[in-house]
Symmetry: C2
Subunit: 361 residues, 2 copies
DNA sequence: TTGTAAGCGTTATCAG
DNA sequence: CTGATAACGCTTACAA
């Protein structure tokens, strides 16, 4: 038997209404009854029951977070940002992961119904329309990195296209013209946009799109390792590898090291996301900064605004796009360290970690 | 107004009780009314309200997770394990982070009261007794990696002491006798145990404990970078660095690379945790495998058992310790690549990532 | 300023 | 097999 508001009321010789008023400061209460109630509540270690409160108030002070996965630094960063913003607004987080398809998302939503005031959904492999389908009607929701399909769900994403385009342009400017690309999963919206950006940059430069330079991964380190292996196995291997996320870039570098192929001298390798560990790698990873935690924060802010009805009209398909930035570190080499058959001397000055040059675009 | 069980009842011309029975299969219902109810429920997209259900059932089918932080791969791995186990048992997760002291933990608990059936708390910097203090009386709780203090709270932890001891012994066996140690935060229970293990190994080997070889970090990459800088600044720098977690080891390696100090030739560097990225680093990181996700799974399993009363007697201070394993990779070098003034040839065969030798202890 | 009582949406106990 | 109805613990009109 846990202690309830009735116990407090009884011991303080007041009604439960008064106890509630004291605890929520929701109406004036005489100083001494107030003090008496607080005294009793404290001594009893009374804590109001959240479910009862949510039921009565019709709001839960909690947000639901639905993620495809929980593996790697990307998701912990995202969740960190979400948690920060939610905590600032005194909201709890109901988290559920391993939901890749609309069905899975649907059941996750069902489990959350009545326990959360709004939903944050990251589902890069699911069409936004399909997500909207499984949503309770008019339920406040923000989609993170959803596919660009028009729908009634508010969406926030990063500039995958622009970031990838800028990165490929940078590699080309360094003299690396044969670029291997390790793509993400076939239906991943982020991955596809990054791919499109890469191709756009190639085409602008008048370069062909060589199918041999294209392999598909799944955003895991291991698939990056495999991707690099495949790319090195073709007749005329590339001078650079652009992995569609940092984890795959890390895997690729790992493979190259095992093969004694020096990075960046013989092979430039770049990634996407700028996960926290990227700057500490050897060589430090040139990548596209996404501001993962900020993405989570902004998504949460958007959702909280919607809950407060400071929101955009419900059935307008709002879509925010956060900018990305090129982060040039060691793994792409400098113009002078162009690819050569001989391992170059590793004396190229490397950037200290606290002075990472950032190139906006 | 969202659709409730009453709406379903009305449209199916039955009582709410029957609807509930159908939806929960909690009592026999005639096949055709059953079908009718399901039909209506589906067409109305009815989803039961979680708060109401929790309130009535007196169980929430949710677990609370309280973490000190959400930064880095350690926490995403831990959460992944917890989520897996919870999901298998159809439990949701209410997550709250950034709670380092007993007060913060207390307020997090308050926010969860009535919404969760049990608590998973990771609070390496808080004494178990202090945690017990802020806990509702007899609330099912499992402490992850708590300090060893005797208390009434069930605790699960990893063999920090043994793992660190084994690692230091390994470094010594490689001929690295001067070992710099980058410790964790002053009150972090895990960090302290790892420190104790390291010292125990040194003493067994008859080696002195040199205060100059000891620096304090905070488990972040940056503090590892700083720690390495400090250790390299002393008069007679070490031949190896043992960082109390992988993140700090990564930071240390990053510093050494910037100074052109080759790892492992001139400096062996090892860590603790075996976060997923460790095997992909350059050089791949020798570390102590903790089985982070497994830790989360087991903690959750313990808690779920307690909820089912398959539990150990409530006020017995049960304490499980998971074993750790040495994972020998590239960053510690081999016996032949003992420290020397000349950078050794980097031709030492490196392990492929799929054949990592593991040494139990 | 305080108390009474009607919900909030389910589940569970009784009768029937 | 089915229907009333009393909880579950709290908030919030409405009165007093």
């Amino acid at each position: 038997m846990t202690v309830t508001i009735k116990d407090v009321a009884r011991l303080a010789s007041v009604s439960v209404a008064t106890v509630s008023r004291v605890l929520n400061s929701s109406a004036p209460v005489s100083p001494d009854t107030r003090e008496r109630v607080l005294q009793v509540a404290r001594s009893l270690h009374f804590v109001p029951n959240g479910s009862a409160r949510s039921l009565s108030r019709r709001r839960a002070a909690a947000l639901g977070v639905i993620l495809p996965d929980l593996y790697g630094e990307f998701f912990s960063e995202l969740l960190r940002g979400i948690d920060q913003a939610a905590q600032r607004a005194s909201h709890s987080l109901l988290v559920s992961s391993s939901h890749h398809d609309a069905r899975g998302i649907g059941s996750a939503i069902r489990a959350m119904r009545g326990r959360v005031d709004g939903l944050l959904i990251m589902a890069p492999e699911v069409d936004a329309a399909d997500v909207a389908e499984v949503l309770p009607a008019d339920f406040p929701t923000v989609l993170i990195n959803g596919a660009a399909a028009s729908s009634s769900v508010q969406t926030i994403t990063v500039d995958n296209f622009g970031g990838a385009q800028a990165m490929t342009e940078h590699l080309l400017s360094l003299g690396r013209r044969r670029i291997g690309f390790i793509a993400g999963a076939a239906h991943n919206a982020d991955a596809l946009e990054r791919e499109r950006g890469h191709h756009a940059a190639l085409q602008s430069a008048g370069l062909p799109i060589d199918p041999e330079l294209y392999v598909r991964g799944d955003f895991s380190e291991e698939s990056g390792w495999q991707g690099a292996a495949t790319l090195m196995g073709i007749l005329s291997p590339p001078a650079a590898i652009f992995a569609a996320n940092d984890a795959m870039a890390i895997g690729a570098i790992s493979y190259l090291r095992e093969q004694d192929i020096t990075v960046p001298e013989r092979m430039a390798v770049v990634g996407f996301d700028d996960i926290p560990v990227a700057r500490y790698l050897n060589p430090s990873l040139t990548t596209v900064r996404v501001g993962i935690a900020a993405l989570g924060q902004q998504a949460t802010a958007l959702l909280l605004d919607a809950l407060d009805n400071r929101a955009p009209p419900t059935n307008v398909a709002s879509r925010s796009v956060l900018p990305t930035h090129l982060v040039i570190r060691g793994s792409c080499g400098s113009p002078t360290s162009a690819p050569s058959r001989q391992p170059a001397a590793s004396s190229t000055a490397r950037n200290g970690f606290d002075e990472t040059p950032i190139v906006s675009h």
